[in-house]
């Protein structure tokens, strides 16, 4: 099939950037969206043009590196998939496709469609871990974990840090990501010890990075490729309230 592409091109962080039209022919419906961009890039390179920069790594939906705002939606028109798992059969011959980078104050564009998501790393560094002293592993039965909590913690831990929640949110809010990272530890006994300081520090870092506030529109949950639930945001709201009131620091 033949497609018209409107793609954001931006030389570097300082460049203003603009949408540029491309057209591409002989696209197979079995290609992934990123493979389609690979083909376009080869054509650009053969012509001596600068190829389009975009993020990707595993190409199997688990690393969270791929991004792209496609036709006004994070990771494109399907629900519950990353861009690397989006296939060209989701489009029709002759379609025009808008391709833009994630847009948020906290995610500056590096080049073209690639954005700097290290703000997420700094939020994790602020408290998204347990300080465990290494030593012999203790008997697993010493730390009873109810099955429901284990399941919820696991579901929260499936967040791949892609940033689709921020990209989709009209406020560029990182609440879904941060709450998933707070929840996966808050639900487990290993995480309880540092729970107060963790939530206070991670939320403070989230605010300092310039992410927006949560209006509870729920768009993040719907566009999240891993189906992270708004339940996590409610849990973080509770944890933060408890910690702000009770924390002695």
């Amino acid at each position: 099939m033949k497609l018209n592409l409107k793609i954001w091109r931006q030389k570097n962080r300082e460049d203003k950037g603009k949408m540029v039209d491309y057209s591409i022919d002989h696209v197979s419906p079995d290609m992934s969206f990123l493979e389609m961009l690979d083909v376009l890039n080869e054509q650009l390179i053969n012509k001596g043009d600068d190829p389009i920069a975009f993020d990707h790594d595993c190409r199997e939906g688990i690393c969270g590196m791929c991004s792209l705002f496609i036709n006004g939606r994070a990771h494109g028109p399907n629900y519950g998939v990353t861009t690397c798992q989006l296939h060209m059969r989701s489009f029709k011959d002759g379609d025009t496709i808008f391709i833009e980078p994630w847009r948020a104050q906290a995610f500056p564009v590096i080049k073209d469609l690639a954005v700097d998501r290290s703000a997420f790393d700094r939020v994790i560094q602020a408290g998204g871990y347990v300080s465990a002293n290494t030593g012999g592993a203790q008997d697993a039965n010493c730390l009873p974990v109810p099955k429901e909590n284990a399941d919820k913690a696991f579901a929260a831990a499936t967040c791949i840090g892609c940033g689709a929640c921020v990209a989709t949110c009209k406020n560029g809010s990182a609440m879904l990501f941060v709450s998933a990272k707070v929840s996966q530890l808050a639900l487990l006994p290993q995480g309880k010890a540092e729970a107060q300081q963790r939530v206070l520090n991670m939320v403070a870092q989230m605010d300092a990075e310039g992410f927006g506030n949560c209006s509870n529109t729920g768009a993040c949950e719907i566009e999240c490729p891993k189906g992270i639930s708004l339940e996590n945001i409610a849990r973080m709201n509770r944890e933060f309230m408890k910690a702000s009131i009770l924390s002695e620091k």
Partner: protein, 233 residues
């Protein structure tokens, strides 16, 4: 850390939105209960009943305290809402060329600030028309059936909707404002619970249902009053 967090954090701003928003929902319910007396027919003493209620609302000490909490809540809610909205805009300085937000969120949830602004303009107009005259005049007094001297807010209210020149416009302003409240609360009611972390598989579906019911019923009953007065009295 926790001290500054209690004042500055994004989450705490939302705790205040939630608390003031839900308090204002209680205020709306109380205000509606009072206003529904305007649906009493004049032969059954609507004028005395409504004006007696007006006197109670402006003199009773308990009501006075409540009304001050209400003024503060509206102010705080509006200012906090505007601050949140400005910060939210700043968090996305470059907009998308193509957006399809309806794929993932409701219109009301995305336009709380617009709806709130409509409501704020309405609240100012509404207070200039009734609250200001009740407190600072000019307003006529008369002797009620039980011999009490009452300010005649009832006649001001009825006349403002029945006025030949402006009455219909006034009625329409009320209608628009009530539609804005309905949409504001269709998202806001349940959102206020999520903001403070109240979410539970058993109760959240109920909260959403009650929220929709409240958001539709309360503005509807409010909106009936001006049209009843204009066309049925």
């Amino acid at each position: 850390m926790s001290n500054s967090a209690l004042l500055k954090s994004s989450l705490v701003k939302k705790y205040w939105m939630s608390a003031t928003g839900l308090f204002l929902c209680l205020f709306l319910a109380g205000h509606l209960a009072g206003n529904l007396q305007l649906l009493i027919s004049p032969e059954n003493g609507a004028r005395d009943a409504f004006n007696m209620y007006g006197k109670f609302m402006t003199t009773n000490i308990f009501v006075k305290v409540l009304s001050i909490v209400t003024y503060i809540s509206i102010l705080f809610h509006a200012i906090d809402g505007i601050i949140l909205t400005i910060q939210n805009r700043r968090a996305r300085p470059v907009r998308y060329v193509k957006e399809t937000p309806s794929a993932s969120s409701s219109w009301a949830s995305r336009n709380m600030a617009l709806l709130g602004t409509v409501m704020l303009v309405f609240i100012v107009l509404h207070m200039l028309a009734f609250w200001k005259r009740m407190h600072f005049g000019p307003i006529e007094t008369y002797i009620a059936a039980n011999g009490e001297e009452l300010k005649d807010l009832y006649s001001i209210t009825v006349l403002s909707f029945k006025d030949a020149d402006n009455g219909l416009i006034v009625c329409m302003i009320y209608l628009v404002a009530m539609i804005a409240i309905a949409f504001h609360l269709m998202h806001g009611f349940q959102s206020a619970f999520q903001s403070v972390g109240i979410r539970h598989p058993k109760y959240t579906p109920l909260i959403k249902k009650v929220g929709y019911g409240f958001a539709l019923l309360v503005p509807l009953l409010f909106a009936i009053i001006p049209f009843y007065i204009r066309f049925m009295l």
